[in-house]
Amino acid sequence: MHIQELILRLQRFWADRGCLIGQPYDLEKGAGTMNPLTFFGALGPRPWNVAYVEPSRRPADGRYGENPFRLYKHLQMQVILKPSPARVQDLYIESLEAMGVDLRKHDLRFEEDNWEAPTLGAWGVGWQVMLDGMEITQFTYFQQVAGMDCRPVSAEITYGIERICMFLDGIDNLYDLTWGEVKTDDGVFPVSYRTVRQREEFELSAYSFEHADLDLHWQLLAAFEKEGWRLLKDHGHYLSGYEQALKMSHTFNVLDARGAVSTTERPGIIKRIRDLACGCARAYVKNVENVENVENVENVENVEREQAQPGAAKGEGVRA
């Protein structure tokens, strides 16, 4: 299975089941959950289904492009379904079939695995989904995000793209995966994961383990924090404020990969990131509640207007 083919199939599958197809958020982050489409989307009462691919950076997992199983940056396919549907497990199983997995021939298990993201004040319960003994998906029912109860509860499904491709093809080295095929006038050229990503893995690993300027990163951590609170407090801007929390998180991960964070310092820094992220989430909820009240009023007005003009509701003779 080519990387791009798997992504396309999953996107098609979830779009057909009523999900928006989102895009990766263009800042470094450790997991798809940190994308505002999930972090803010999981808050508040509004129905929200979204699926997207998120490149996820884990500086400590960097292996200079040499380890056949581990990556500095891997691809997550993230799905959020709010509220979690009653058939959510069945939907997920259908998505495996859409990938080309014939479940009549495989062993599928849902084993307990609860999830917690201390920098986001978020936790949930769920499973790691095991296919023939391999973890292919994280499945979580969000209980809290940003320290607030999720009402309704979102189901989060996170597929590890590279792992699933390797597993489906029985490949022992992820760099041997095929990303896709390039067709030109001269023929068809398969392009490997190695070609697309190995040099990047090498340089990013070298950066986080050797070249990153630690003093600069400590300064950045403080600067992003200050900037974030300024945006949030002075301007009420929770989106640009949250971006600063994301930057803090990645900066912290780089410092951590270098062993520059002591065990005693760690909880304090995590709390600083969480405080900013949670502050942004509270501002978001407050703002959205106001907006939704307004939207609801508008909807009521529309209904009234439509009832007054029955023809308009069916769209007869209406032209913009």
């Binding site: 199983f69 979690s84 479940l103 495989h106 062993d107 307990e112 609860n114 319960v125 009402r151 509860v153």
Partner: protein, 687 residues
């Protein structure tokens, strides 16, 4: 309607965490039994079933109808209810009306404690159909279950361990009609996902008795014990086919039985080159990451094979085997990477790094801890007369593996990896062995360190933890023991006890506390007092584990507990008399002696010449013999012989008599006897 019916309830959920299955099934059973006791006034056996998606029980013998219940209500005196002509008064009519009966059903009797006859009615509450009672009670009972880590889902506020997707509830062939969080109970359920690929409809369960059989046909074995038994049989067969035996792991087998609906063992292989890894690494990596068993030959050498469970009956295209083998290769590749990386630096070179690894905020780093352990083990070795030359070396090496990659990945390999790395650095066998086994015993029945150095290191490490935590006020209370200090304390006592080392636990605890020194946040005398109670309890528990009966333990402990070698010998000797009726009598007498002496100041020495009665003279004679006996067993025989004469003494002699000299002599005799008893035990606690 009459007779009895069988009740079946099944809660079908999305996959329930395996660790919660057994406790939830047990609680569900208790809830059912309490309901039956209360509403149906009967005790019925309950069969429980659970599988990854199901919690169920079946109860045969429920009466179809609840028994009628009668209830008597008493009212005002007759004179207020009936007038002179014998007609009902307003009050009388009101009383009848209150209980919904005609006045003709009101009787007049004189209740106990009343001076005159009063109105009385007997009400019969008709028993309700059990079906109705269940339909009302079950939603309430299920909602009230204590669910650990409860969750919400969808838009509902309902909480349970995982989302409930179906309810099956039958009383005989009838559905018990109730609804829980929008899910109605019915007569169908769901089988294995694989089964439903060809059978989209739910599975109809015709009767409670047909439950297991119906589900087995739909691919689910609902009894966990049955799944475990099948897995175990297959494990042994397949291990033999692979040319070896299973490396046993009861806990892993339990888990596997809990995470599959249909139990099958599949076998696989891994590249032989991975056998260069230490056995513990392979066993741990396979069990932790892949829930797989290793296979070993008759000599205990691992074979390049593994066994794990699948949740289906077969492996039609070999995907299960190849999939598991693929994952295992990835895991072992990681393990080998850690193993190779870790060995690029000698283990002990990491000592500096331990300065940055916090042991406990108040107690400093692991480096500080190793220094304390070193001093403590040297002192212990010298008081045991053992060779302590390598004490400092092992103490400074034993925590270095905490900062290796392998222990970072597999914390349970702490100690073991340190030992394995030292072994490969050509360290002396006693050194790497000591490091490897210093966390032992890791469980109540796990082995204790086999080497002297390992035993000393293990005690020093644990004692430093216990004394340190006590010194900063981290003392276990009730069920709260987050730092597992009781387990550490038990380990210390068990090693001393089983090795037969004559070390006074309080003496070494004092040394350990000295080592903590200025880091303590509580005054030392307070800490020592707490440690004394704590260690004494651990010793008591050790005696219990060793199988000594209650009277033996209590009375032996009370006569001194810090000389463990002597304590063990006394318990051994006392055990022979555990059921001896003479000791019961001795216990009574010992109690009397205790009571008599309680308020008496220690008097003069015994003047046997002053004793008058033959019973007391006989006792004085026996006392002399008793005091001359040095050997524990003989002493107990003498004590047993003493029971009769003591009884005779108390029957014949009044100790606190008028004559002061005689009284002093008798008290002195008793005091000497008490002293002789206490060489072995405090018999007043022998009950």
């Amino acid at each position: 309607m009459s007779g009895t019916r069988t009740l079946l309830l099944e809660i079908h959920c999305e996959e329930i965490p395996s660790r919660f299955l057994a406790p939830l099934a047990a609680e569900l059973t208790e809830t059912a039994q309490a309901f039956i006791r209360e509403q149906l006034q009967t005790e019925l056996a309950t069969e429980r079933f659970y599988s990854p998606r199901k919690l169920a029980w079946r109860i045969p013998g429920l009466p179809v109808v609840q028994a009628d219940q009668t209830d008597t209500q008493t009212g005002p005196p007759r004179r207020l209810c009936v007038d002179d002509q014998g007609a009902p008064t307003q009050t009388g009519l009101k009383f009848a009306e209150k209980w919904g009966v005609g006045f003709d059903q009101v009787r007049f009797t004189q209740p106990a404690g009343k001076k005159e006859p009063c109105a009385e009615v007997t009400l019969v509450r008709r028993g309700r159909p059990t079906l109705e009672l269940l339909a009302e009670a079950l939603p309430r009972l299920i909602s009230a279950l204590h669910v650990p880590k409860a969750m919400r889902w969808g838009s509902s506020e309902f909480q349970f361990v995982r989302p409930i997707r179906n309810l099956l509830c039958l009383l005989g062939s009838e559905v018990v009609p109730f609804v829980l969080d929008g899910v109605p109970a019915g007569s169908t359920t769901w089988g294995h996902r694989l089964y439903h690929m060809d059978h989209p409809a739910p599975v109809a369960v015709p009767s409670p008795e047909a439950y297991e059989e119906t589900l087995e046909r739909a691919g689910v074995v609902v009894s966990c014990a049955e799944r475990r038994a099948r897995l175990e049989r297959q494990l042994h067969t397949l291990a033999a086919q692979a040319g070896g035996r299973v490396v046993a792991d009861g806990h892993l087998l339990d888990t596997l039985a809990e995470i599959v609906e249909y139990p099958t063992i599949i076998a696989g292989a891994f590249p032989e080159s991975f056998l260069a890894l230490p056995k513990e690494v392979l066993v741990t990596s396979l069990a932790e990451h892949q829930k797989a068993f290793c296979v070993e030959d008759a000599q205990g050498v691992l074979l390049p094979a593994f066994l794990t469970a699948a949740n289906r009956p077969d492996d039609p295209d070999g995907f299960l085997r190849s999939g598991n083998e693929w994952v295992l290769r990835a895991r072992l590749y990681d393990a080998r990477f850690f193993f190779d990386e870790d060995r690029k630096q000698p283990l002990r070179d990491r000592l500096e790094k331990l300065k940055h690894l916090t042991f406990q905020r108040e107690l400093g780093s692991y480096y500080d801890k190793t220094q304390r352990i070193a001093a403590l083990s040297e002192a212990m070795a010298s008081s045991l007369g053992l060779d302590g030359t390598d004490g400092r070396l092992v103490a400074e090496s034993c925590k270095c593996d905490l900062v290796t990659l392998m222990v970072g990945e597999f914390p349970e390999l702490q100690g073991i990896m340190g030992g394995e790395y030292l072994k490969r650095e050509q360290a002396h066998e006693k050194v790497w062995m000591a490091v490897k086994e210093h966390y032992q015993p890791v469980s109540a029945d796990g082995p204790i360190p086999a080497t002297n150095l390992g035993g000393i290191l293990a005690i020093a490490d644990k004692l430093d933890t216990v004394a340190g935590c006590f010194a900063i006020g981290q003392i276990p209370t009730g069920s709260k023991d987050p730092l597992a200090l009781r387990r550490a304390g038990q380990g210390i006592v068990r090693i001393l006890f089983e090795r037969g080392w004559n070390l006074n636990p309080m003496a070494i605890a004092t040394l350990a506390l000295d080592g903590i020194g200025g880091k303590a946040t509580r005054p030392a005398p307070e800490t020592l007092e707490a440690l004394e109670g704590f260690l004494r309890d651990r010793v008591g528990y050790q005696l219990e584990q060793a199988g000594y009966p209650g009277p033996v333990r209590r009375s032996a402990l009370a006569a001194g507990w810090t000389d463990l070698v002597d304590l063990k010998a006394r318990c051994e000797a006392l055990s022979a008399f555990a059921d001896d009726p003479r000791f019961q009598s001795l216990a009574q007498s010992a109690k009397r002696i205790g009571n008599i002496l309680k308020d008496e100041a220690p008097g003069a020495a015994l003047d046997a010449g002053r004793l008058q009665e033959p019973e007391e003279q006989a006792l004085a004679g026996l006392l002399a013999r008793l005091e001359a006996v040095a050997e524990q067993d003989l002493l107990l025989h003498e004590l047993a012989e003493l029971a009769g004469p003591l009884e005779a003494f108390f029957n014949a002699v009044m100790v606190k008599c008028e004559d002061p000299a005689l009284r002093a002599a008798r008290l002195a005799l008793l005091r000497r006897l008490q002293g002789a008893f206490l060489r072995v035990a405090d018999f007043s606690l022998w009950q």
